[in-house]
Symmetry: C2
Subunit: 650 residues, 2 copies
């Protein structure tokens, strides 16, 4: 079925139409009364006025004596005043100020006559060497809250302190906006509930779980309906039921194109279609309408598109239903680590990883695939590229909306370099020991580590660069790329590289030369990775023309991705490390043991993250994990092989 | 009872001792397994590895045909390639890639022979004008997630996207840190449950509600125990019960000094006292110990001290119990609107209001009273003044830790000037109409409005400054204080000022002159307020020496605070507006009708907040509310009386 959008409008226009439609249908939040003690995080539905003052009585603020300040007037260090027992009352902190008194003198300022002490207080005259100000050391009625004062406006989220203030002001129950009920209808013939052994072609339905979580985090109550097949009548029935039960409805299409048309037609027939097609990427097929006064939003099937659409269109609807502005998200300015181009036609949302390196934020764009849900797991922020912009060059500054607390980003070790699963194990050990530290790793190969360090964009990166001339690893590359020095080469591990093949190696693959045979399919790593350099080197050594190897241009970014493809049978071999082959139970034809070092620039050396990294590498737990993974050998991980000291430029 | 601290240590030292004690007692988070669909916001207890890849099969990414890319090799716009029906398979998006195929050609790129169309697909040869790359338009196995990859380390909060990624990776159940159970024991003979009609001397127990909310917001589970009387044995029993049932315990002393000693002794006897006394303000009497491996924290009774201690000491404990770093809170640099001095002895926490004015953040310190819980309701942030610092001068820059999202602060109307309850009503109307906007008001009197505008620290402020010479309001003050112009004088209301007296005016007070009589007690407003200027003027006119009026130096900052004191009987009269007298049911001796304008600096005029303010003032709802409050008269609120245009400085 062909794919037709009625029109494509801007996001602002789309949100405006939804808001207007809601206004026309009443727009007031539903209210409910809840006990103050259970109101945390709820949104006030009405302005709240104090019923009583706090303190509700004049309270003594010190242990000591209460009196009328006027009896102390004139007292100084040279002209003390004596106060008789009938002129003062003994009080403790929190006591009501006795009648006729308007000040408290703290016990430390009371001087007793010869032969008397604090135990005689109340029964002896006392001497004061300073005058009291009226209302001194008294917490007056209303010092905190005056009866009748507005404590909170409507539309405000209730904090722990606000709960305390309400109780102090004599308020036991508060009128809050009812949690908006958001119906979620997953649709699609191929869509199945999540499981651990799906069949090929099954699309697991996890979008409703993601959307439910988003709805909950905004103070709504998600209601997920059963998966509805791709049949307009079934969708119509599900929609009408949800509209009757909820304040807003998400209609989540399957991932197949053409599907969205159903939703739009069903909505147009059951109510009014507001728009179909929004100039955002991902998320263009988004649609919305009103059915019986309830907003219905059509959400594309790919999870990443879905998240962007739910954030862009449902969040403003929930704000209307709550009568409150939700956290708009802080943002920072960041330097782009890589160019990021965009079409003029869309407002684009790009997930980025953020790192705080040398006092600036560095943004690395993540996968833009609409199906790559992990890009939202790894993302620290969202960079928006406006419509009519072609995007950003590397080094340009862009604003990034934060998805994580800034403090977490500031304490994140930025690893950019060669992939190895051991980086994840290091992250685990580090985070378990120092929960405030975390690791953000990006796999761009060994040369990528060098480029990032030159641009001051990472804290460290794995490198395993073989110098064909000397057979030595890394040293000559670092000498060449850092003629002015300023980096350290830190020992990490030795690891086994080889050809990953089907279990038992049924095709008898012994070397790269075998891959040039007719019918053989290779899967390669990306240019600039140490493993690709190794493949290229082996081709040269074995005299194989890479152009003859089918799939030599089929590039993957990680050892595990290569292993997964070999395991699936879509490639017969790929170069990779033993530990990746082991995870997938593959056959392994060893090629060499290589030296996997870490490049650590001087500017990052003294950060707590790098110091923690070194401690992890030197520890017992790292050795134990490495051994369990297999294919590694360690000598003195975490020690400096060589410091390329910074030289002043001449 | 005298107050004795065992010693006073720094906060870092205190937290260090608690962490170390926890480490000694095991330190591993308790774990529990929960379904992924119910794991939102929980913290992972173990690293999570993908069970299956996602996609778990090679999925067609387009509607079209699947084939082996090699059959298309060589196809160009001038040398098309024809593909026979047995060489391709018709596919839809999401279909598994058929056996033997390694690429998908989208339907739009397929050319049909004369007389055939898309309906014949599968039964006719087709022509292609471009070669396919192997794996083109295919979502390969593991494109998103590779089986065996680490998805999340332990100690990470689970987001909606992470829930989706787990389900996609075949994970249905996740091991998370159990919510730490935090016992809260309120103590004190004078402490009573919250109610709306407390007796004098009753201290309402709302701290446990505040602390419960804090615990919940950090992912813990609060357990509040009954109020325990001031008896060491009763406290000991309550503590032992809580220690047996919880992971950590808060022992909340009553507000009376000396009380804390009980707690410290009880803890020292039942287990080990780690410290008693921390060099922080507020919060100095804080105490902690370990009883049966469970940390016990002694929290002072005043709510503000309590909040600071729970944040400073319990939060790190919960981080240990969860194995995760909690949101450390973003911070901004702000300019101090007023000086803020501090003792060298303490690390001080000062609540501040923040406003974004002219591209900078302005911090106004709020009440530092330990009992003023509303200071935490109004606060936008916490400014820390380190030990050994004497504080900050006005105009100095300081770091402020945020308590609210920055976006909210950036969209807040900063009102600094004369107090009137109508400001709260304006805030309510504005926030209800534009939930993203809010109002932050500080009451510093009319002259305070002028000072703030001169320093570019507010967006507007109420002024009612009487020129004794002309009888005119505001104009001459603005001419004098803004000789270079740059401000607008905007009409707001006319309001009734007078003497607020006891109901029925039993003392027959007719004028300020009566207040100089023996035994009469006055309550005044602070210097710089328009109402104080009015009082001073009336004294002069009536020939009364203010020094003869008892309480003339007793200064309050708001009309309601003055009304509350008259109502309580602790003053016989105070100057204020009719609406405040009405709230408290007081008698009212009218003195004059005054003109209450708004001063709006040019730099703030075009902000959305000020434009919204003007719209509110001009609206019907404002008139209705003002009328209901009583004592006001409106003509054309929200119109400019006079624009003092900016002149270039010569």
């Amino acid at each position: 079925m062909a794919f037709a959008y009625l029109s494509t409008i801007t996001l602002e226009e789309a949100v405006g139409r939804l808001r207007q439609a809601l206004d026309h249908c009443g727009g007031e939040p539903r209210k409910e009364a809840v006990p103050v003690t259970e109101s945390l995080g709820r949104v006030t539905a009405e302005p709240l006025y104090a019923r009583i003052s706090a303190p509700h009585y004049h309270a003594c603020a010190m242990d000591g004596i209460a009196l009328q300040a006027s009896v102390t007037f004139g007292a100084t260090s040279t002209t003390p005043v004596t106060v008789q027992p009938d002129e003062y009352v003994v009080v403790d902190t929190g006591d009501p100020l006795p009648n006729g008194c308007d000040a408290v003198v703290m016990i430390e300022d009371v001087v007793f006559p010869e032969g008397f002490d604090a135990n005689d207080l109340g029964g002896c005259p006392i001497t004061l060497y300073a005058a009291s100000a009226p209302w001194g050391n008294v917490r007056q009625i209303g010092e905190d809250i005056c009866a009748g004062e507005m404590l909170l406006t409507s539309g405000v989220e209730i904090t722990p302190a606000a709960m305390g203030a309400m109780l102090a002001a004599g308020i036991a129950e508060v009128s809050v906006a009812a949690r908006p009920r958001i119906g979620i209808i997953p649709t699609g013939d191929e869509v199945v509930p999540p499981c651990s052994d799906p069949k090929p072609g099954d699309v697991m339905e996890f979008n409703s779980t993601i959307f439910s979580g988003m709805v909950r985090s905004w103070g709504g109550e998600p209601v997920t309906y059963p998966i509805t097949p791709d049949d307009p009548e079934a969708v119509r029935c599900a929609l009408l039921k949800a509209v009757a039960e909820c304040d807003a409805v998400l209609l989540n299409a399957g991932s197949s194109a053409g599907r969205d048309d159903y939703s739009a037609h069903v909505v147009a027939e059951a109510g009014e279609l507001l728009f179909h097609g929004v100039a955002i990427k991902p998320g263009k097929p988004a649609m919305a309408g009103m059915v019986d006064g309830v907003p219905v939003i059509g959400v594309p099937g790919y999870p990443v598109s879905g998240i962007v659409v739910v954030e862009s269109l449902l969040k403003p609807v929930i704000e209307c239903l709550l009568g409150a502005g939700l956290d708009g998200g802080a943002s920072v300015e960041a330097v782009l680590a890589r160019p990021c181009t965009s079409s003029l036609k869309h407002h684009e949302y790009v997930r980025v990883r953020l790192g705080a390196v040398e006092g600036k934020f560095v943004a690395t764009p993540l996968s833009r695939g609409a199906g790559v849900v992990t890009s939202f797991v790894k993302a620290d922020g969202i960079m928006e590229i406006p419509q009519n912009s072609e995007g950003f060059e590397a080094g340009e500054r862009a604003r990034v909306r934060l998805l994580r607390p800034l403090a977490h980003i500031e304490r994140s070790l930025v690893v950019i370099g060669s992939h190895d699963p051991l980086v994840d194990e290091v992250a685990q050990i580090m985070h378990a020991k120092w929960p405030q530290l975390s690791v953000a790793s990006t796999h761009v190969g060994s040369m990528g580590a060098i480029v990032a360090a030159k641009r001051h964009e990472n804290h460290c990166g794995g490198i395993h660069l073989l110098d064909e001339a000397t057979g030595e690893y890394n040293t000559s590359y670092l000498e060449r790329h850092f003629p002015q020095g300023g980096v350290r080469q830190v020992e990490c591990v030795y690891r086994q590289q080889g050809l990953m093949v089907a279990p038992g190696n049924p095709l008898g693959i012994a070397s790269l030369a075998d891959m040039a045979r007719k019918g053989m399919r290779y899967v390669n790593r990306q240019k600039g990775s140490g493993t690709r350099i190794l493949s290229d080197y082996l081709c040269k050594r074995e005299g194989v023309d890479p152009a003859l190897i089918y799939g030599y241009d089929h590039e993957e970014f990680t050892h595990t991705a290569v292993a997964a493809l070999v395991e699936s049978g879509s490639a017969d071999a790929g170069m990779g490390i033993y530990s990746a082959a082991k995870i997938y139970g593959l056959g392994f034809v060893p090629v060499c043991e290589e030296q996997y070092d870490l490049l650590i620039p001087d500017y990052a050396w003294d950060t707590p993250m790098v110091q923690a990294l070194l401690e992890v590498l030197q520890g017992e737990e790292f050795r134990a994990r490495i051994e369990a993974m297999g294919g590694y050998r360690v000598e003195s991980p975490g020690t400096v092989r060589r410091h390329y000291e910074a030289r002043r430029q001449i």
